[in-house]
């Protein structure tokens, strides 16, 4: 029996205080050490400012040697997937950001096959994660699943185009969609409101499931609740991207210089860029959670139900059935030919034998 307890195991001063309120800090420390991973996919027609926006969001240059192909090259091009990874560190917190770009989307005259490549990429990432998760060594699974998809809507139309609707319906069960109105400096305030309302109406009409920000918990502070409310009201975000520093009102801001004025990227009155960035940062965790709990689980259950067979297209099924039927037909024909040959031989043999057997007529 030890009368004197070692110094570090004394009871804390407050009775009834066990000390596990310290857990969040431990989690925080672990996550900071581990670092975060996030995969963002950007989809939209060429010329909508996707690359500029990504560069502005993360204040980097993800596409240093970019060559924009001319029209002649675009005619032959199919949609490609380009993933670029960058490690950003801020105050000790590491973020491994992967941006998946889809050049060639919407370029062709006939865009029917545009999104097959994109969908198979998303499925492939899920497949790989499933494979890793079911493997023996599960310590260092790299999560390359697409957590969020920014879909760029052109501000020049009157709402969603048929291609937009078709694409969103094809992937809304696989990935979180955040619709973004690009090049928002072409719109006046009234036009912007009208376009947003119209897009939201069309999304509802077509039953497209975009990413919904979770409501703030009732125990959060008022500021956070207000911020969440504002964010929810501004979907889809209308953004302007730029990394050029312009001199305006005596200070340097990032913006675009026009003869009639300067559009400031980080001015909430000019566009929703700050809101988009806030949403992305405060809800990065939530986006990952929804991907894991909803989209990935959906994919996994579908996949396991199928029992290990790879996805077959309807067309391929039909082709296969056709081939099989043809093979069967051929076999039957061969059988018939053989039977005929046998009968022939039998008859000939029979003729020779009939003398022996002596048929009586």
């Amino acid at each position: 029996m030890s009368k004197q307890q070692p110094a570090q195991f004394i009871n804390p001063e407050t009775p009834g205080y066990v000390g596990f309120a310290n857990l969040p800090n431990q989690v925080h420390r672990k996550s900071v050490k581990k670092g975060f991973e996030f995969t963002l996919m950007v989809v939209g027609e060429s010329g909508l400012g996707k690359s500029t926006l990504i560069n502005s969001l993360f204040l980097t240059d993800l596409y240093p040697e970019r060559i924009i192909p001319g029209a002649a090259e675009k005619i032959e091009r199919t949609v490609q997937i380009e993933a670029s990874t960058v490690e950003i560190e801020e105050r000790g917190v590491k973020l491994r950001l992967t941006v998946v770009d889809t050049p060639g989307y919407g370029d062709a005259i006939n865009c029917r096959d545009c999104f097959k490549t994109i969908i198979s990429y998303i499925d492939e990432q899920f497949e790989r994660y499933l494979h890793d998760e079911s493997g023996l060594n599960r310590r260092h699974i790299i999560d390359n699943r697409v957590h969020c998809c920014f879909y760029f809507i052109s501000p020049f139309g009157h709402g969603l185009k048929p291609l937009d609707v078709a694409f969103m319906k094809a992937i809304h069960n696989k990935v979180n969609i955040v619709p973004v109105i690009a090049k928002a400096d072409t719109l006046t305030l009234k036009e912007r409101e009208r376009l947003k309302k119209r897009i939201l109406d069309e999304i509802e009409e077509h039953n497209i499931k975009i990413y919904h920000l979770p409501d703030a918990e009732s125990d959060e502070d008022e500021d956070f609740k207000e911020q969440t409310r504002l964010l929810k009201a501004s979907i889809p975000f209308s953004v302007v991207g730029s990394n050029q520093l312009i001199e305006a009102k005596g200070k340097k801001v990032r913006g675009r210089l026009y003869p009639w004025g300067v559009v400031e990227v980080e001015n909430p009155e000019h566009n929703d860029f700050l809101k988009l960035r806030t949403m992305l940062i405060t809800h990065m965790q939530d986006l990952q959670e929804v991907t894991q709990d909803l989209h990935y689980e959906n994919f996994r259950s579908e996949r396991l139900k199928r029992g290990g067979r790879k996805v077959e297209n309807e067309d391929m099924n039909k082709d296969q059935i056709l081939l099989e039927k043809e093979a069967e037909l051929r076999r039957m024909q061969e059988m018939i030919a053989r039977m005929q040959a046998q009968m022939q031989m039998q008859m000939q043999g029979g003729d020779g034998d009939s003398g022996v057997h002596g048929h009586h007529v």
Binding site: G47, A72, S154
Partner: protein, 366 residues
């Protein structure tokens, strides 16, 4: 068959006439400048021309994807709200086939009446599969030529055949900032052989000045690379002064335009423009956009030229093509028996039959 030529113009010098000052008062469109143009042409032809034209009919076709500001551009051009932009209502599916809507408007200014018909093309290039979306438009244009042709070959024909042929086609290029899209190239290639095409960069207020210039150069390069001859065509320059004038225009094509039909107060003046939080984009201000250039081209300086080229070149080409089809050469008035018009009027006659004595030997024959 002899290559067709443009109407002869013996006079080689055109008196320079700055008809209107560059920055002018509002409310004045400048239609009566067409009288000046007619007079000059008449002088070149070398005889007294009594202008008894009462109503000048001009037909334009606007082509571009929805939302590029075609209807607003028409309103801006005529400073009168002649066209309410029509949005398809919710629940109404996008028109699956191309539908053409025409609006005719008679504008009078200083005793000159201009009957302008503007045909809009909603639903062009908006579908997922835009293959052959140019067929209805080409069919429409050729249909107008056919109508005129039928009138022309009648045995007793009207003195003044109503002209419904498309004189000018304004093609709206979306301001992506990169280059022409495959759809644009396909369309322009087919269109340029049938009608005068003026490409414009629509909604140009999304491009800064540098981006605009770079975009323009790239478009010009693309047009050259694909042998697309837009209006004013190089091969129809009659003389040196024409060439100089048109070269200046060609350098600025495609014009970067912004359309607006609302007026705002700027520095005490009432201007047409778009009001945003960071400034007002003035439509008539050359530093902001090139709308005045487009307007001057279409109305003030080249209105008659557009009609002439349509009549003398495009229509003649169509006529030759049709006559060749029916293997019948006119043997005199009233003897032409045309084969019935083909069901599919989308066949383009092919490269222009008009050959110009190339002053500029660097021109490629496409």
């Amino acid at each position: 068959m002899d290559p067709l030529r443009r109407s002869p113009s013996p006079c080689t010098s055109r008196p320079p006439s700055p008809r209107t000052p560059p920055c002018e008062m509002l409310g004045h469109v400048g239609i009566e400048a067409v009288l000046e143009q007619l007079k000059i042409k008449a002088m070149k032809m070398g005889f007294e021309f009594n202008i008894m034209v009462v109503v000048i009919a001009v037909i334009w076709l606007l082509i571009g994807q929805s939302g590029l500001g075609k209807s607003t551009m028409v309103n801006t051009l005529f400073k009168s709200k002649m066209w309410k932009s029509t949005l398809p209502g919710l629940g109404v599916p996008m028109p699956q086939t191309l539908q053409l809507q025409s609006v005719t408007h008679i504008i009078e200014e200083n005793g000159v009446k201009l009957k302008l018909t503007v045909t809009d093309t909603p639903g062009f290039g908006d579908q997922i599969n835009n293959d052959k979306c140019w067929d209805p438009i080409l069919g429409y244009i050729n249909g107008q030529y056919e109508r005129y042709l039928q009138e022309e070959i009648l045995i007793t024909r009207q003195r003044h055949i109503p002209d419904t042929r498309v004189h000018c086609c304004v093609y709206f290029v979306p301001p992506t900032g990169h280059c022409l899209r495959p759809l644009d190239i396909e369309f322009l290639q087919r269109l340029c052989r049938t009608v005068n095409v003026v490409p414009v960069i629509a909604r140009a207020d999304s491009l800064t000045i540098e981006e605009r210039e770079a975009f323009r150069r790239r478009i010009q390069h693309d047009l050259r690379a694909h042998c697309i001859e837009v209006y004013p065509q190089k091969c129809f320059d009659e003389d040196i002064s024409d060439r100089i004038l048109n070269s200046k225009i060609r350098d600025r094509i495609p014009f970067a335009v912004v359309g607006a039909d609302q007026e705002h107060l700027v520095n005490g003046r009432c201007v047409l423009g778009r009001k945003t939080k960071w400034g007002i984009i003035e439509v008539e201000n050359m530093a902001h956009c090139e709308f005045p250039l487009l307007r001057d081209l279409l109305i003030r300086s080249h209105l008659q030229d557009l009609k002439d080229i349509t009549h003398n070149v495009h229509y003649e080409n169509y006529r030759v093509f049709r006559l060749n089809q029916s293997h019948a050469l006119p043997r005199g008035p009233g003897w032409v028996n045309l084969a019935p018009a083909p069901a599919d009027l989308t066949a383009t006659p092919g490269p222009w039959k008009v050959r110009w004595q190339a002053h500029d030997s660097s021109d490629e024959e496409c």
